[in-house]
Amino acid sequence: MSARQMKLGLFLWATGHHIAAWRHPDAHVTAGIDIEHYIKLTRTAEAAKFDMIFCEDAAGLREANINIARQTSRSIGFEPISLLSVLAAQTERIGLVSTASTSYNEPYGLARAFASLDNLSGGRAGWNLVTSASPIEAANFGSTGLRPHADRYERAREFATVITSLWHRKAAGHDGQSFSVRDPLDIPPSPQGAPVMVQAGASDDGKDLAARTADVVFSAAQTLEEAKAFYDDLKGRLAAYGRQPDDVKIMPGVAPTVAATKAEAQAKYDALQELIPDDVGVALLSSYLSISDLWRYPIDGPLPELPESEGMKSRQALVIEQARRDGLSIRDLARYFAGARGHWRVVGTADQIADELQARFEGGAADGFNVMPSWFPGELDAFATMVVPELQRRGLFRKDYEGRTLREHLGLKRPV
């Protein structure tokens, strides 16, 4: 048995990560208004001994174009802090992590909410720090426009400093550029001391901030080489902040489609691909490329030259790189992207998927994975009943929880 075991997160997303998931005949289409759906999925992940579930967030619609939005299930859902509070009361062991933006929150308020969640769950909470890059969100917070990338990260750095001081009971009183806070946090610490800090930014600013403050980093990479380059880069930045490589767990996203045979798995995936309307696929791709008029270009032609964006820099670069490398048309790219928004897709048997995960885990490209089922509940059930037992047989994943808190699951030190 391998001494080192991989960490697994379950990335929850309403009907599933595939853009057409909600149209799958067996997908739970009312997910966005059904709390029982989330309780059930989280209990499935807990029974499979996942380290944590993870919720993304955006304070606004995902898509501004009404004709696109109406063809997706992404315009409505639960607000994640209330969702995780429910899951805290309805589960025992699994970690509970949610995104919350540094752009449209105040550190004292967010520190209170996550500290409360950490207490409600007995030390299982985590916060995924993001900056908001969407103009749709900005319009809900009185901003006349999106802040430039560097400004967002400046604010995020200050936010992270304040919130960790509050959680770690460091000296109170902060008077900075974006925030001022006078008092210590009025919520006592949980059994894990402070919620786990998660980050996903992959730009230079994002990686530096993660190296300084994150316990877990979610990333996106297509190839083992890309994943390894990111892994080495980020781990290499830790020493500058007095941290050890093992202090941060790097967990790339993976979107598995598993079945008894490779052909069956491919057929399952192809059936979902058939459900993507062209305009929805192109719109999703556009949003990650931060370009508004991609639909003007011939869908079977190449990706046009794009200016550098103030949006999600790292994801844009990843997509462009992939298009050029594989000679993909806009349609190809849109359809590929619709499966998992640029994350790594694996289609095959449990054995084949375990092989792929093992190769990245043992190849120094990942400490674990953030699993993104294409649709719920079916693909989660398939992963939990087929892939997880295979990983356990290989000694790559735990058979039971060793600890109580999320920090214990992840093998992280308790903050001092």
């Binding site: 909600w22 149209r23 799958h24 009312t30 966005g32 208004i33 709390i35 309780i39 955006a58 304070a59 606004g60 619609l61 995902r62 009404i66 004709n67 939005a69 109406r70 063809q71 997706t72 299930s73 315009s75 409505i76 859902g77 639960f78 607000e79 802090i81 209330s82 969702l83 509070s85 429910v86 009361a89 309805q90 449209y104 929150n105 105040e106 004292y108 308020g109 209170r112 909410a113 409360s116 969640l117 207490n119 409600l120 749709i136 319009a139 809900n140 917070f141 009185g142 008077d175 974006s178 925030f179 001022s180 806070v181 006078r182 008092d183 009025d186 919520i187 006592p188 949980s190 459900l275």
Partner: protein, 325 residues
């Protein structure tokens, strides 16, 4: 007014004197107990007024309580200074779906200087500005709650139509303190709008409260005071285009050890308001005294209902679709 009164219990978790702080299980046990006794709603305060011993922030606690109770209304305080209106509207709309329509937001109109100091406003906010800001904030939240029609979601897998865009409405609010485009990314809630509870009203807030609130909590010294305050509020409701019954006025009384059955009965018998909000310290012996001794005595005398009338908080309180139309 009817012969029975609405009854709320207000729980100040932060006040647990001499205790290390209540656990979630203890709080859940208490709320289930008052639910079994037919209490219409429990109000969780979250004042950040003074150093607290509570391990829980109110809205997160409410979400957890929603899944371990079935009928009782659940109301949390949340400050207009500590939140952005879009975020707060989302949180409460989400809670209302989670609880199947049992949620209320207690919006206090009273400014708390400690909040300003911790929320990047070291200079504080002038009282008059605070009032106009709070009014604008509450209007935005109620507007966002109305952003999706009840039948907007189609779930039509075959035709690829998830929702009807005609039934989703932008708010497009541009005001003195906020601009919010909307719509909310949470569906219409089961109560259409979570119940808006207001408290801490000064004389200058009364007309606003009468226009938008579903429930107004008023501190009462005696049944006579209460009647005057209630009558005053009800007079202000009609000019706002609402029936007096659309706003329930609950008097807040503190359950001190000397608040015996007879004294509480004075309040009920005087019918000076729509009901009472009983403020209990977060002290387990006070809970037991209230649920095991006081409540059964009041129920025996027919002053308090012992069952819930409906499934949503609006139904418990005999409220319509919500204020501020």
């Amino acid at each position: 007014m009817g012969s029975t009164m609405y009854l709320a219990v207000s729980l100040n978790i932060a006040s647990a004197a001499g205790q290390a702080g209540l656990t979630f299980a203890e709080i859940a046990g208490f709320v289930r107990k008052v639910e079994a006794a037919g209490i219409d709603m429990v109000v969780i305060s979250d004042s950040m007024d003074e150093r607290s011993s509570s391990p829980f922030e109110a809205t997160t606690l409410l979400a957890a309580l929603a899944t371990v109770t079935e009928r009782i209304g659940l109301v949390a305080s949340a400050s207009t200074l500590a939140h952005q209106p879009y975020n707060l509207a989302r949180r409460f709309a989400s809670l209302d779906i989670i609880s199947h329509g049992r949620i209320g937001w207690n919006a206090t109109m009273r400014q708390n200087p400690r909040e300003a100091a911790n929320f990047s406003r070291p200079e504080g906010i002038a009282d008059d500005d605070f009032r106009r800001r709070a009014e604008e904030f509450i209007g935005i939240v109620q507007g966002l709650w109305r952003g999706w029609d009840a039948d907007a979601l189609l779930f039509d897998k075959a035709a690829g139509r998830f929702h009807d865009p005609e039934k989703m409405h932008l708010l497009d609010h541009k005001g003195e303190f906020f601009s919010v485009r909307g719509p909310l990314n949470v569906a219409r809630s089961p109560q259409d709008m979570p119940v808006l509870v207001m408290s801490g009203l000064a004389a200058a807030d009364l007309d606003f409260g009468a226009r938008v609130a579903d429930v107004i909590l008023v501190k009462g010294k005696s049944p006579t005071d209460a009647k005057a305050a209630c009558d005053d509020l009800k007079r202000r409701v009609s000019p706002a285009g609402r029936t007096p019954d659309a706003v329930k006025v609950l008097m807040t009384v503190a359950a001190t050890p000397e608040l015996a059955t007879n004294r509480l009965e004075d309040w009920f018998s005087a019918e000076s308001c729509d009901g009472l909000n009983i403020a209990l310290p977060a002290d387990l012996s006070a809970f037991d005294d209230f649920t095991d001794r006081l409540l059964p005595a009041l129920q025996r005398r027919g002053l308090v209902r012992s069952i819930h009338h409906g499934t949503t908080l609006r139904e418990h309180l005999g409220l319509g679709a919500g204020g501020g139309q």
